[in-house]
């Protein structure tokens, strides 16, 4: 369904004296999702997860520059194609409630998303009420404004907005943040259902524990780079995890009694080299010289000089 190879995202910033400066936030990012699959994308805050989702839709700010190869349904995903299919074939569940317009009624916003996704005007009301019913939103909620929603309701509204159409790829950006465990499980259940009906789901989160509940595969980001792709089952024990960063994440899970502690990832400047090396216990001279290649390892992939 989706195949991303060697994606990089840079931002041009103007510093003092109107000097242009480029910062590279994402580089050497590889990822793929297939039909019926939930692919979890794990990374710490600031790893570039939201940027990835926005880049796939072509909705990054104008000062962003994207490079790399992206294939969607086997065809290259060009900017023209992006603007033709966003909302119709790829849908986004955004990260926070601020993505709803504060001054428009919830029902109006969902209806507009339905219309944009290619549903006939006359079928829109029925489709919207079905979406509301699916996410257990009462009818009267349609007349509410976003500030009247609780956090959990707002999440469900965002999910309803993204899934009211018939998109084949769902980009879910932190769909469980701020939810209690039961509500979170319910939200993940919805995503699993969507995958089971033949859609592909990209589940973006910083919380491995919740992700592992529904994901088939896990892609681990470190400072904007894919460092490992592993099956969800591989996280049952340390043995199958190959990258030191993934292992550190695994060790930080509560069930693993926080073995070892990890420093937050520092972003290295643009000199090349492994993005994790500053926090890695096994680093040596090689790590600073080049970004490691992504190597196949069993059913997964790993990007480490020492794996």
């Amino acid at each position: 369904m989706l195949d991303i190879q060697n994606l990089s995202i840079r931002f041009t910033r103007y510093t003092f004296g109107l000097k242009k400066k480029e910062v590279c936030i994402v580089r050497s990012l590889d990822l793929s999702v297939s039909t019926g699959q939930v692919m979890a994308v794990i990374g710490q805050s600031g790893a570039g997860k939201s940027l990835l989702a926005h880049a796939l839709l072509g909705i990054l700010p104008r000062n962003a520059r994207i490079e790399g190869r992206v294939f969607f349904k086997g065809q290259p995903l060009t900017p023209e194609r992006q603007s033709a299919i966003r909302g119709r074939e790829i849908a986004l569940i955004p990260q926070s409630v601020t993505y709803l317009n504060p001054l428009l009624r919830v029902g109006v916003q969902v209806a507009r998303a339905a219309r944009l996704s290619g549903i006939n005007q006359k079928d829109v009301p029925a489709t919207v009420s079905r979406a509301f019913a699916r996410y257990l939103l009462q009818k009267k909620v349609a007349a509410w404004f976003p500030f009247q929603l609780s956090g959990g309701m707002a999440r469900r509204v965002l999910t309803a907005t993204a899934t009211v159409g018939m998109a084949d790829l769902i980009l879910a950006d932190e769909p469980t943040s701020g939810l209690d465990p039961i509500t979170a499980r319910e939200a993940l259940g919805h995503l699993r259902e969507l995958a089971n009906t033949g859609k592909a789901v990209l589940l973006i989160t910083h919380d491995i524990e919740t992700a592992l509940q529904v994901a088939d595969m896990v892609t681990v980001f470190c400072a904007g780079t894919t460092v490992e792709v592993a099956r969800a089952d591989d996280f049952k024990g340390l043995g199958h995890l190959r990258h030191p960063y993934t292992r550190a994440l695994w060790a930080a899970l509560p069930t693993n009694s926080f073995i070892g502690t990890m420093k937050p990832i520092e972003r290295t400047s643009d000199t090349g080299g492994c993005p994790f090396r500053l926090c890695c216990n096994d680093q040596d001279a090689v790590c600073g010289q080049s970004v490691p290649e992504l190597k196949q390892a069993g059913e997964g992939w790993v990007r480490c000089h020492h794996a």
Partner: protein
Amino acid sequence: MPLQLTKFLFAKTLRLVLLVAAVATLSFVLVSRSPIDPVDAYVGAAVMKISPEQRQMIIARWGLDRPPLERFGRWAAQLAKGDFGVSTIFNEPVTAVIAKRFVTSLWLMVLAWCFSGLLGFALGLIAGAWEESPADRLIRLYAYTMASTPTFWVGMILLMLFSVYLGWTPVCCAWPPGLSAEQATLWQRLHHLLLPAVTLSLIGIAQITLHTREKTIEAMRSDYAVFARAQGESPGGIVCRRALRNVALPAVTLQFASLGELFGGAVLAEQVFAYPGLGRTTVEAGIRGDIPLLLGIVLFSTIFVFTGNFVADLIYYLVDPRLRKTAGGFS
């Protein structure tokens, strides 16, 4: 009426009373300290002909020999009864003069206000939605130029071009000379109104355009606009279907809150075009020392500007659902 709204209206009324009281006090102090001698101003050219005794009589009759506090008390009591005194230059009650002149001004101000509001808002939307496009650059250039141009200068240029050189529009007044306001046809009045109204609008557009542009840019970069794009909405769609309300709300507020500037602009525009409205009357009253009229206009314009701000707040209150939240019940 919800309790919230009653409270809101009560607070506003209280504020108006306090404001008028403050302005009245300040004006009284300023006028009593001003070098204009009320007797001289009243008698006018005949000042040489009255004897010192006559002068004393006038002073005693007007109570000018009383202490200031007592004079203020008497004046304020009259004001409270709605009696603003008699204008010395028009020899008519101040309220009548203001009413008549204000109606003439109202034509001008309403026209300019609507025109600059609508056009300025539209230009701001276009400039903001297509930021850095040639249209945006052109609109910005225009707005910055107008924002830094004095009203009377624009008025004079237009007057020279359209009235003197091309002869399309009349050179002065609100209706043809020799006729009274009632005799003039609607068309004649609009014809005379055109140039002053355009002058006032051209200047007024700048502020609302720049303000709307900023708000539109902010809206286009907001999260909800990003989400709208993710759903496949076009820039035009975002402006018309998503951001319009978010941008219009502050724009309407600004437009009502700028009644003060509109009034200030009208004073200048009316002066240039010899348009007999309230603005021109203000200047005359000032120059010719008509203190009752001047004070009346000061108080009137205070209420006028206050009303503008009040309407702005009221609209915000009624339109923005977030402010109504506590007003009882979701609507």
